[in-house]
């Protein structure tokens, strides 16, 4: 068509545009000063790119004000909506922009942007305030999952340790790339009042021959969920359901599935990064997940479109007895006698222990490699993640990442919030993170589609997972993880 002819005619202009692209990089390089942590002068302003509530922005803004008073450096925090923060962060980094000094980084982004971040290991070794840094005070699993990566092979799992020790990290070839600041893990919010109701307790005892208490295993959870799925006002329609699930074709259903998978002892990838989520454990996980929705019908019928906010609404309005989410859900005051409590995601009994695997993911603050104030930025990050600051975050309901902060949470006045922090702290110790691959989004999507198609009845579990596994293998090959 005519367009193509014009194309050929104007293709000479290709050259100027590549030059523009090249010029821009050169300018950025000229503006940049060589990385010299001691040679930097104290900046007047530090700029932070942050998310909103899911990373606890109110708490951070509050802490930043304190830092301003202490040091005289002005802190500017730009907050952007979570759903689109990825585009914002990546666009800035792709242009090697030095505008932001600190960035909020969600764990799945790390493998893709690690080359644009400044490794913090040396800053930590030479820290001027070791009692502000206190690496040993971080919840080890959270720290390792969020911040410890090998630059050239981000998928490698860091060495296991119960207490963070910097030299163990470096001797294994890893670096620290951020400081964890807010951690989200799948927990259960439940209707304490229903569980404590003598009428229900009596009925449960008769039916199941044991007491109605917080379920520890998946089977117990299902029993309790079945028990509570009922018609409470005698109009012939079920108005109370046992539990919720987030089954929309969305990141939410993938991490839901992953939680079930981990609980049954399965994994997404094996050590060679080959997909194994379609093995018998994976099929069992998916079929269990599906059975709650389709067979036992212990969830509201619309869960196929649910993600985080629908679950919160449904629990809040009193329509379910238990609900799984990443924060402590509250009840509408209009729900008669309603009282919310919290407990850990159920597990599976192995011997005399319970093995759990709730999904977790955290936000870390990282230093922009192209920033001109890296030392100052690091110090700010250290401050924002410090034990003192984190204790101060408790009042904002921040999901803190330090052991000392959880200890401090035991003196919170509100029993509901106190209970939640206890559950949160325990859950973070057993959380399972995402695969640390550069094409995480694509892999997640392939599985999301499979789950969605299984739940809508298009395919059976084994077929859906097998097809997804095949696609994931292709994706991994394309990304260069193996031939």
């Amino acid at each position: 068509m005519r367009k193509r002819l014009n194309l050929a005619f104007l293709s000479l202009l290709l050259i100027p545009s590549l030059i523009i692209g090249g010029c821009q990089d050169r300018n950025a390089a000229e503006k940049q000063q060589p990385a010299d942590s001691t040679g930097e002068s104290k900046p007047q302003v530090l700029k932070v790119l942050y998310a909103t509530v899911e990373a606890g922005s109110e708490a951070i803004i509050d802490a930043a004000k304190k830092y301003e008073q202490q040091t005289g450096i002005k802190i500017e925090i730009d907050t952007f909506p979570y759903n689109n923060l990825q585009e914002k962060v990546f666009s800035e980094l792709a242009q090697k922009s030095d505008y932001y000094d600190l960035l909020a980084v969600d764990t799945p982004w790390m493998p893709k942007i690690i080359q644009h971040l400044e490794p913090l290991t040396s800053y930590m070794k030479n820290t001027k305030s070791p009692d502000v840094l206190r690496l040993d005070d971080f919840i080890a699993k959270v720290f390792l999952d969020t911040s410890v990566f090998q630059k050239d092979a981000p998928h490698r799992q860091p060495p296991q340790m119960d207490v963070i020790a910097l030299d163990r990290i470096t001797s294994a070839g890893f670096d620290v790339w951020s400081l964890p600041i807010q951690s989200n893990v799948l927990t259960v919010s439940y209707r304490k009042d229903l569980f404590n109701d003598p009428k229900y307790k009596e009925e449960f005892r008769k039916q199941f021959n044991r007491d109605l208490e917080i379920p520890q295993t998946m089977d117990e959870y299902l029993e309790v969920a079945k028990f509570f799925t009922r018609d409470t006002n005698g109009d012939g329609k079920i108005d109370l359901y046992g539990t919720t699930l987030m089954a929309k074709k969305h990141e939410a259903n993938f991490v839901d599935f992953k939680s079930f998978l981990s609980t049954f002892g399965g994994k997404v990838f094996d050590d060679n990064l080959k997909p194994v989520f379609n093995d018998e454990k994976g099929v069992k996980a998916l079929e269990t997940y599906g059975s709650w929705i389709l067979q036992h019908k212990v969830t509201p019928p619309g869960v196929l479109t649910y993600t985080w906010d629908e679950v919160a609404t449904v629990f809040g309005s009193g329509q379910v007895a238990m609900a799984m989410n990443y924060h402590n859900m509250k009840l509408d005051p209009k729900v008669q006698g309603g009282q919310a409590g919290y407990f850990m995601f159920p597990g599976v009994k192995e011997g005399d222990k319970i093995v759990r695997g709730p999904h977790f993911g955290s936000w870390g603050i990282a230093v922009n490699k192209y920033s001109k104030n890296k030392q100052a930025a690091y110090e700010l990050a250290e401050f924002l993640a410090s034990p003192e600051s984190q204790k101060g975050y408790l009042q904002f309901n921040q999901h803190v990442t330090r052991i000392s902060a959880y200890e401090a949470s035991r003196s919170i006045a509100d029993p509901g919030v106190r209970e939640y922090y206890q559950v949160l702290g325990e859950s973070l110790k057993v959380g399972v993170g995402r695969p640390r691959i550069t094409n995480y989004d694509q892999v997640s999507e392939a599985v999301q589609i499979a789950i969605s198609e299984y739940l809508s009845g298009k395919k059976d579990a084994k077929t859906a997972l097998d097809e997804a596994a095949k696609q994931v293998e292709t994706l991994m090959r394309q990304a260069g993880y193996y031939k």
Binding site: K3, Q86, P300, G302, E310, N439, D441, I449
Partner: protein, 286 residues
């Protein structure tokens, strides 16, 4: 002689300025495996991205979904829009206020539109199902989660939002028509339908074509509302091509592939649009 170029100059300057870099950037990157997050590591891959698109199940599904979506939405919007424009061109009391109110659906922030409808249509606590339940005793279906309902629902939301666009433009067109042909028709004793068909429609031809074209192009690019409503689900049922390109560009960061897909997108729309335009010029030449 020079006037005509001077008149075009401001518009063309802005357009060329804004399109030159994206045009060549996307053309160049479509032939590479450039990733915006790794700007220093890329290779020339020729037409590999285009071949990949032809065999990519997700891409092909999204293309088909988009054809369905655009076809049904724009057609419905046109007929409804025409009807509404005629209806609202009457001299009814308060019609001028009513016309303004009609614009509200398309003036509302897309994210709010998407979320509100997602809420209203929620199976368990949405108002729509609530009233279906209490007034009609029906079990409200899973509007957005049911395989066979998701696409029609998404199309209807688009119709709700954009019919006012058609109506507004067509109304403006109706208002600009000169009076004599209508007077002549009346004198000749033509019926309303005849007047409409032989006097109104032919004169509106240019406007009709423009709104069809623009609406079609915009519908192809539909993104915000569908993303919020269904995220392309259930499965891939409502995955539109624009969603797919967005995912590839901003979730997978495969900039090269996204550029190739954008070119395919552009060529398809251009083909359809030029057919339309050819039709117009043929008709006006008569």
């Amino acid at each position: 002689m020079k006037t005509k170029y001077a008149l075009l100059a401001p518009a063309l300057t802005v357009l060329v300025f804004m399109t030159v870099v994206p045009f060549f950037f996307s053309l160049a990157t479509s032939l590479t495996d450039y990733k915006a997050t790794e700007p220093d590591r890329w290779r020339f891959v020729g037409f590999a991205n285009f071949y990949r698109a032809l065999t990519d199940r997700d891409v092909l599904t999204s293309l088909w979904n988009t054809v369905l979506y655009v076809g049904s939405a724009v057609t419905l919007e046109f007929f409804l829009g025409m009807a509404v424009a005629l209806l609202f061109s009457r001299n009814m009391r308060g019609i001028r206020t009513i016309r303004i109110l009609l614009l509200l659906p398309m003036m509302t922030t897309p994210v709010a539109v998407g979320l509100m409808w997602r809420w209203l249509l929620n199976t368990d606590f949405g108002i729509v199902n609530y009233y279906l339940n209490t007034w009609l005793g029906m079990n409200g279906p899973n509007w957005l989660g049911d395989e066979s309902l998701a696409m029609p629902v998404v199309v209807l939301v688009d119709v709700w939002q954009w019919t006012p666009f058609m109506a507004l433009a067509l109304l403006a067109g109706l208002q600009s028509l000169p009076e004599e042909p209508f007077e002549a028709a009346k004198i000749d004793g033509a019926s309303s339908w005849q007047t409409f068909r032989h006097v109104t429609l032919p004169q509106l031809r240019s406007v009709i074509l423009v709104v069809w074209l623009i609406r079609m192009i915009d519908a192809f690019k539909s993104f915000d509302v569908v993303w919020t409503l269904t995220n392309g689900g259930p499965g891939l049922r409502t995955e539109l091509f624009s969603l797919r390109i967005y995912r590839v560009a901003f979730k997978y960061w495969e900039t090269g592939y996204a550029s190739a897909l954008s070119w395919i997108f552009l060529i398809i729309i251009l083909l359809v649009a030029s057919q339309f335009i050819r039709f117009l010029y043929r008709e006006t030449a008569k």
